[in-house]
């Protein structure tokens, strides 16, 4: 399938947007502007941007504690996203969720989740709703390699395959679960291998290569949309940063971190597009400028937003 130049540039822009949003979040957090903690996906942007580039607003995305990228790539409005992470009244969740619970149903960001593996069973339900209504919409459920060891992974993949649900289970495998390396918690090296046990296709791609991610995601989404059932799509990525902002990664060999940072999905895609003359001199700068303006605007909005309204503390527990 040949793509337009605009599509390719949009994917690049999406990755840049995620990178810069998270860099800014890390900076703001370190300065004390954001309460709680922040998990960034810097270095892993190709997964969010690549997978979401094939989705429409009617499609659902469920994500995790490391979910800013997925929400941004799915088109969440940056102002209210930022206000939520600031804990302000006009954040998407009125400041009750924060970084780990951003959501915007209007663009299909069903919600992020602070419970590792907690979203997988819920993805069955959002996908079932599409099937129940005869819609052509799909659900993508993002999760980490660590999450694939929760019982919910097993329950969810079995049922999704059994019922041919329109869902893509996208495992963003950064080979770490918090402070523990994958070799300490999994015998198999690839999460995608597990798909065979459920009777669904499993694919493993280089998640630093957005072209590969997009091709695999397109196939999986197409399968789901056309009634062919679920796919387990594993994207192998490298975690540049600590588990959370401020994690000094003492448990990790310095060379490992250095090596991870040589795999830059943004730089390599820019090179590819440059070589193909899709990206012309000045284009990247324009993207950077445009993204920076959006982020500046969102941060200003968040910082100027009212604190969570005390009168609201007790509302919305029940409908």
């Amino acid at each position: 399938m040949s793509e337009t130049r605009n599509e390719q540039l949009a994917v690049l822009e999406s990755m840049v947007r995620i990178r810069r949003v998270e860099e800014r979040l890390a900076e703001l957090f370190t300065q004390g502007n954001i309460p709680g903690f922040i998990h960034v996906s810097i270095g892993q942007e190709a997964v969010a941007a690549g997978v979401c580039s094939g989705l429409g607003p009617g499609d659902s995305v469920l994500t995790t504690h490391r979910g800013h990228g997925h929400a941004v790539a799915k088109g969440i409005e940056l102002r209210r996203f930022m206000a939520e992470i600031y804990g302000r009244q006009n954040g998407f969740c009125k400041g009750r969720g924060g970084s780990m619970h951003v959501a915007d149903r209007n663009v299909g960001v069903v919600g992020a989740n602070g419970i590792v593996g907690g979203g997988l069973p819920i993805a069955l339900g959002t996908a079932l709703a599409s099937q129940y209504r005869g819609e052509k919409t799909v659900t993508v459920c993002f999760f980490g390699d660590g999450a694939s060891n929760e019982g919910t992974f097993h329950e969810a993949l079995n049922i999704a395959a059994l019922w041919s649900l329109p869902v893509v289970f996208c495992c963003e495998n950064n080979s770490w679960a918090q402070f523990t390396p994958q070799s300490s918690y999994m015998k198999v090296t690839s999460v995608a291998q597990r798909a065979a046990g459920y009777g669904m296709p499993g694919t493993c791609v280089d998640g630093s290569d957005v072209t590969q991610v997009r091709a695999a995601a397109r196939e999986a989404v197409e399968r789901a949309r056309s009634g062919g059932g679920p796919t387990l799509l594993e994207c192998k990525v490298l975690r540049w940063q600590g588990h959370y902002v401020g994690d000094a990664q003492k448990y990790r060999a310095p060379d490992d971190v250095k090596e991870a940072r040589t795999h830059d999905p943004i730089r390599s895609y820019a090179e590819v597009l440059g070589a193909a003359k899709v990206l012309e001199p000045g284009d990247l700068e324009k993207i950077e400028q445009c993204v920076k303006a959006e982020i500046d605007d969102a941060v200003a909005f968040a910082a100027a937003s009212p604190m969570a309204d005390p009168a609201d503390l007790l509302t919305d527990v029940y409908a």
Binding site: P121, I122, G125, L128, T152, E155, D316, V317, A319
Partner: protein
């Protein structure tokens, strides 16, 4: 016109009527389809509504609740069955961290019209892992409603209300009551969630009872009437939201309070009710209140009779409160 039906049949009727009424309602759980449910609650629903709306699942309790949660996030109205209330423990994250919190945590973005039906209680010699009454755990979770109907009439009316409610409702059916017969109206009716009901008026003591203990308390009231003690039995029907008004009004009439439930007494719903009355209207109480509940042990298999709170325990508690 009234007619007689069994508690389990009343549940089946409620499900059937609500599914016919609203295309968004579907049932999901283990053995709910062809088998019609482990206790027949979903009998004939598959034949009537088809496999799209009557969904058999693998033995995957977390997934069952996750399916319900995700479907509700997209606007459907699922009714999940957990085969025994004891197995709710396998779905604890999905119930407590996901379903119950979704509305609040996402700033009111979603309504979560989910019903989770689960048979609870002892009396069938089902042993320690198939007999518990765990309502207090769930009553402690903001965002959930917890309902425990005691009669065929109430179970039907409350289940229909639960399905129409825009909040997650944990619907605890006492399986020792499944075979019980009672009168229900012929036509459509609802019983409101959050409203207790006086099942027997009396002037000397209020017994606030839940589920099967409503019937034990009514039996106790008959026994005590012979010795001139007039017991009012207030069937709580809903645990949360608690009908504080009904409790306080009854205690205002009688001046004495006993709470009776089948769950272990320690840290239970009874403690909450006693504390609520003591905090809000201590002057109403002419005697210290009392609680009836199970001892602090798992539900034993052969020794169920010894274990289960019964009418005699309510009689003793009432006598103690009246003579205090």
């Amino acid at each position: 016109m009234m007619r007689e039906t069994r508690y389990i049949k009343a549940i089946n009727e409620a499900l059937s009527e609500e599914m016919a009424r609203d295309e968004n309602v579907f049932v999901v759980g283990e053995d709910v389809g062809g088998a019609g449910g482990a206790f027949s609650a979903t009998r004939d629903l598959l034949a009537r509504f088809g496999p799209r709306r009557v969904r058999d699942t693998p033995i995957s309790e977390a997934a069952i609740v996750g399916i319900a949660t995700g479907a509700a996030l997209r606007g459907l109205r699922p009714v999940a069955e957990i085969m025994f209330a004891d197995f709710l423990t396998l779905a604890m994250d999905q119930i407590v961290n996901q379903l119950a919190k979704a509305r609040y945590m996402f700033g009111g973005m979603y309504t979560m019209p989910v019903v989770i039906r689960a048979p609870c209680g002892a009396g069938l010699h089902a042993g320690p892992q198939h007999s518990q009454s765990l309502e207090a755990w769930f009553a402690h979770v903001p965002g959930l409603k917890v309902v425990m109907p005691a009669t065929p009439h109430d179970v039907k009316g409350l289940l229909k209300s639960a399905i129409r409610d825009d909040n997650p409702v944990l619907f605890l059916e006492n399986k020792a009551l499944y075979a019980m017969k009672g009168e229900i109206p012929d036509g459509e009716y609802l019983v409101p969630i959050g409203k207790a009901e006086v099942k027997r008026p009396g002037k000397d003591v209020t017994v606030v009872a839940t589920s099967r203990m409503v019937h034990e308390s009514l039996e106790a009231a008959r026994i005590l009437a012979a010795s001139g003690i007039d017991v009012e039995v207030l069937d709580l029907r809903t645990i949360t939201p608690l009908d504080r008004e009904a409790i306080l009004q009854s205690v205002a009439r009688t001046g004495r309070l006993v709470v009776a439930h089948e769950a272990v007494k320690a840290f239970g719903v009874g403690a909450e009710i006693v504390a609520m009355v003591c905090e809000e209207r201590p002057a109403l109480l002419r005697a210290p209140p009392a609680r009836v509940g199970a001892p602090f042990v798992p539900v034993p298999f052969a020794q169920e009779k010894l274990y289960l709170p019964a009418a005699a325990d309510v009689v003793r508690a009432v006598q103690g409160v009246v003579s205090a």
